[in-house]
Amino acid sequence: MDEAVLRTLTPTVIGVLVRRGADFAAAEDAVQDALVEAVRVWADDRPRDPKGWLVTVAWRKFLDAARADTSRQHREVRVEGEPMPGPGEAVDDTLQLYFLCAHPSLTPASAVALTLRAVGGLSTRQIAQAYLVPEATMAQRISRAKRTVSGVRLNQPGDVATVLRVLYLVFNEGYSGDVDLAGEAIRLTRQLAAKTNHEEVAGLLALMLLHHARRPARTGPDGRLVPLAEQDRSLWNTRLIAEGVDVLQAALARDRLGEFQAQAAIAALHADAQTAEETDWVQIVEWYDELVRLTDSPVARLNRAVAVGEADGPRAGLAALAELDPALPRHTAVAAYLHERDGDPVTAARLYAEAARSAPSLPERDHLTRQAARLNARLRG
């Protein structure tokens, strides 16, 4: 059995244990232990009922841990044997686990780690590798997060918006090491979309699919960033684009616009253009207007200035940019781009070099340095 398929059962099995009376933290540990055993045992002898097998083994591990715990504390063993499967066994608490792991009392980093473990079924080691921190650090982050939500009951209603923010954070981390976090975020969002009827969940799923579709074109063979306008569009994944557009259209039809639907609409318009020149920038600007109205986000305003520069010319883009705080991340890079389009390579080269010095990542710094170098070489020649 594929490990990812096995992991999809994680939240369901945690839910069953919690309904049987285990507290969330202990249930979560027991299911992790059961997953490890499943990977070891199932290779030779796959059970006919994987979920039933996991529930049985996880429950046994929970009892073992509870007995060890109570005997250490010289107290009576409170939990005994195998309970009769009750009506609760058929209920799927996966959705409740999403809410619990994204609980507003958690910091974003804790919510991300807990979601990846309890909903995603990733091991602490895998999560630590993905975020480039020592395993012991990640283990502490997760156990502190579990303590923070220990008083929260699983049947409390949660806020979908906080869950979406957590999943979006996971998606944007991309991929490092063995774990493809973007792929994992899509899997978790897809699973959430199947369990809710919420247009912004669909909007986020569409956004992720449309962005993920461009991933093969976004970096060159040497790891360098390839900007949207220069991407080889034949590398875009048309199957993911088609799915993203379908999901988005169904969401938009419900006429309850939200920020993720608006962002997905912009991504869909890019995906729709056969060449960069065919991009419908006028419509993209309209969607950025919606996004700014919905979020009032400075980042949305910055991206809007780029779109205005394409739709109405670089002067209009620079005018839109002039209204924004120059301290915004990537403000200087956008200014450099618009000045070059406006036919001022001297200013553009200077700004690209300046933007490179404050770039937030190594690939961006290299990209911006290369842009400055390109213009300076042309000015010399």
């Binding site: 404050s358 842009q371 170098a373």
Partner: protein, 136 residues
């Protein structure tokens, strides 16, 4: 016995490189060749089992010190005139000091302007071990 060394690259503070041209004055191809050299170098050390870590730092930082209990820390900077500014590092785990010097030399020869080696000065600093060696 394996020992760890820090190879430090400075934005400022090291003696001037032989091929001392700011990166935005190179050609884009020269920038790419340099980036590729650094990637290949790290990948090769992973292959030989000598690579531990490599990180690049932003060129602007802040100085911070405690201002006593119950008060927020005092911050200062970034200082445009700071004499010593670290750009990044690579940590290697190697058999001998000579091997650390050899590798730092190779890293210093990364290509720069005109495709010629930069010959920049890198600082090699041995790690102090976390465990004491039994001497009795």
């Amino acid at each position: 016995m394996m020992a760890k060394y820090l190879l430090l690259k400075h934005y400022r503070g090291a003696p001037a490189s032989v091929n001392d041209v700011p990166m935005d004055q190179w050609t884009p191809e020269e920038v790419s060749a340099h980036v590729q050299y650094m990637r290949d170098f790290a990948a090769r050390l992973e292959g030989t089992g000598e690579f531990v870590d490599g990180q690049a730092l932003s060129s602007e930082g802040t100085f911070v010190r405690s201002d006593g209990e119950g008060r927020p820390p005092i911050t200062d900077g970034p200082f445009a005139e700071t004499k010593d500014l670290i750009a990044g590092w690579m940590v290697i785990d190697v058999e001998t000091y000579e091997r650390a010097i050899e590798l730092a030399g190779e890293l210093s020869a990364a290509p720069g302007a005109g495709g010629k080696p930069i010959h920049e000065w890198l600082e090699v600093r041995p790690f102090l071990g976390a465990h004491s060696t039994v001497t009795e």
